[in-house]
């Protein structure tokens, strides 16, 4: 059978790394968007949403330029590691983070914004610092939104194609993801192989999303509440 398991492993690795980084980096960004009163905040919101509407090739193209040797970032990375960021796993991670950013940050922001402000006020009058309020009140109460955001970012990274093609190329074990492998099979007129991998990816992504939406129907949020109430 012509399923490229290496590509699958690589794709899942990529999706896990990207989701974890988005969880860590997306929370403060989402918090800022939800609570800041800065008047030009909408520029940042628009910027975060951009990957939703932009063709992946556009994002990929500019990333390729930014990561290449003509940009300061590319040269800095080159001087540090001896090779360029483009066509590496690290480059793929950077591209995927930007590409999946709105899918994590927007659900985060929406769930933060829906936390009753009175609870934040009450927390402050009880002597809690903003950080403690964040971890003890905001996070537990927005758990379903956080889970949704991470799941969407994960699934979205699993299925990305254009950005990977532009900045990753097609190096087995380094940058060849499932979607690239499928594309390869089709190019080689190996429809049976393409079908096997496409079906597998479809089932996997569906399973992840179904799991998340199923758990979010109460059971998981209850559980996270309990977790949140443990000090």
């Amino acid at each position: 059978m012509s399923i490229d398991w290496q590509a699958f492993r690589l794709t899942i690795e990529l999706a896990v790394v990207v989701s974890l980084i988005l969880l860590v980096a997306g929370l403060p960004l989402a918090y800022w968007i939800a609570f800041s009163r800065w008047r030009w905040k909408f520029f940042v919101e628009a910027l975060v949403a951009l990957p939703v509407v932009l063709p992946p090739t556009v994002l990929g193209f500019y990333l390729l330029v930014a990561l290449g040797l003509r940009s300061p970032l590319g040269r800095w990375w080159q001087s540090l590691t001896g090779h360029t960021l483009a066509f590496t796993f690290a480059g793929l991670v950077i591209g995927s983070i930007l590409y999946s950013l709105p899918f994590a940050v927007q659900p985060f922001t929406a769930s933060f914004a829906s936390v009753d402000r009175k609870l934040l006020a009450a927390s402050a009058t009880l002597g809690a610092s903003p950080l403690r309020t964040f971890f003890r009140v905001v996070i537990p109460l927005s758990a379903p939104g956080l889970v949704t955001g991470i799941a969407l970012a994960f699934a979205h990274t699993m299925g990305e194609f254009g950005v990977v093609l532009m900045i990753g190329g097609n190096i087995p074990g380094v940058t060849r993801t499932v979607s690239i492998a499928i594309y390869d099979q089709v190019q080689a007129s190996n429809y049976a192989g393409a079908n096997a991998m496409a079906l597998l990816l479809l089932i996997f992504c569906f399973a992840v999303l179904a799991l998340v939406y199923g758990l979010n129907r109460g059971a998981l949020s209850q559980k996270l509440w309990t977790l949140g109430s443990v000090k």
Binding site: D116, K118, L119, A121, A122, S123, A124, T125, L126, G127, A128, S129, R132, R136, V137, P140, L141, W225, G228, S229, K231
Partner: protein, 379 residues
């Protein structure tokens, strides 16, 4: 019972001078008040939108005044002149918000322990338990707020604030939704707690019944200003401001001018401005410090007016006014009659009185009003 923490010296007085303006989309509003509250209850009474919540928010630190100073005893919470503005979390001001804001994902016990994070776990537990017992909710400690009754939630919110030993307690209409019996039990428990801790409690309400029931010093706030203060009896019986008067149940409020002053009898005569320029009614009222011709308002409760179908004689009441019955309207078990006697007055009667007197619109009637049923107010 745990003694108050040393930092929050008992018997400290809350003093606040607050100025704050808003320029909203639909209206401008400015709060400009100066008040002090000794340990015990101080009631803040006024209609919605009068600035009560902004005042509380300023004391708690959730709103920043444009100018002024807020202190509890020697402890300055805010001072515009010296740029002191303690953060909310460092003020030690207990604040029970109108909708209580209990943490829905925490149990009752965890809610009460929330403000004690600086203490070791065992002490936290023990203090929370003591407070839960004091407010008679220790049996609910493992419940979540959604599973308990409104009165119980109220007790949890109080316990959660008080367990942190605040130096002031702010209550923003916390009991508005509760029935009288539940309410008074909670107030009793709060009073008992405060006999030991002796902190100022600012209690906000727009309910006249609540003011009367609490029976403590009341500050009347209206459009961002404190317009009256004293005991509920003083403030609500002899109102100075018209909104207070309406709140205090004056169905009849008239523009009037001082017409005659009878120093010797301790009364004066006021001329009520009628609906038409040529109509006016003279009314004998208690003497207040006012000059001839000065303008004021007179309020009369509809239930304080007697109605007769023949001109009564031999009465002590000084005001007997002829008029014509305009309408009779049944309200529940009572009749509201409107009588035109130059000015239109509302009179409340029983159903039996209407039937016994065979009252109908158009009847000639006499109204009898005692001098001391006429309440003057500033205009």
């Amino acid at each position: 019972m745990t003694p108050p923490a040393e930092s929050n010296s008992a018997n400290a007085i809350l003093t606040a001078r607050i100025r704050k303006s808003f320029t909203g989309a639909e209206r401008e509003f400015s709060l400009d008040v100066e008040l002090s509250a000794a340990p015990g209850f101080t009631i803040l009474f006024g209609p919605s939108g009068s600035g009560k919540t902004t005042l509380l928010d300023s004391v708690a630190g959730l709103a920043t005044p444009d100018a002024g100073r807020i202190a509890v005893g020697e402890r300055v919470l805010f001072d515009a002149n010296t740029a002191i503005n303690r953060p909310v979390a460092k003020r030690a001001v207990g604040y029970v918000l109108q909708d209580l804001a209990l943490f829905p994902h925490l149990t009752v016990q965890q809610n009460v322990e929330y403000g004690l994070v600086h203490l070791p776990r065992a002490e936290r537990r023990q203090r929370a338990q003591a407070m839960l017992q004091e407010f008679r909710i220790d049996h609910l400690d493992q419940q979540r707020p959604a599973k308990i009754s409104g009165g119980e939630r109220q007790r949890v919110a109080l316990a959660r604030s008080l367990v942190t030993d605040p130096c002031v307690l702010l209550l923003d209409e916390p009991l508005a939704a509760l029935d009288v019996a539940t309410k008074s039990k909670i107030i009793d428990d709060l009073r008992r707690w405060n006999q030991v801790h002796r902190i100022p409690i600012l209690y906000v309400t727009h309910s006249r019944e609540e003011v009367m029931a609490l029976g403590e010093r009341v500050l009347v706030i209206e459009q961002g200003r404190i317009v009256a203060q004293g005991t509920p009896h003083q403030v609500l019986r002899a109102p100075l401001q018209e909104t207070v008067a309406q709140l205090a149940g004056f169905e009849n409020i008239f523009d009037a001018a001082v017409y005659l002053i009878h120093e010797d009898r301790g009364t004066m005569t006021c001329r009520l401005q009628g609906n038409k320029p040529e109509c006016s009614v003279l009314l004998e009222t208690p003497l207040i410090r006012a000059e001839l011709g000065s303008r004021l308002r007179v309020g009369i409760r509809a239930g304080d007016i007697l109605l007769a179908i023949a001109k009564p004689v031999g009465l002590s009441a000084r005001n007997v006014i002829a008029g014509k019955l305009v309408s009779l309207e049944r309200r529940d078990m009572m009749i509201s009659a409107r009588v035109d006697c130059g000015v239109e007055m509302e009179v409340h009667l029983t159903l039996a009185a209407r039937d016994a007197l065979q009252l109908e619109p158009g009847c000639e009637v006499w109204l009898v009003i005692k001098t001391h049923s006429c309440h003057q107010m500033q205009k």
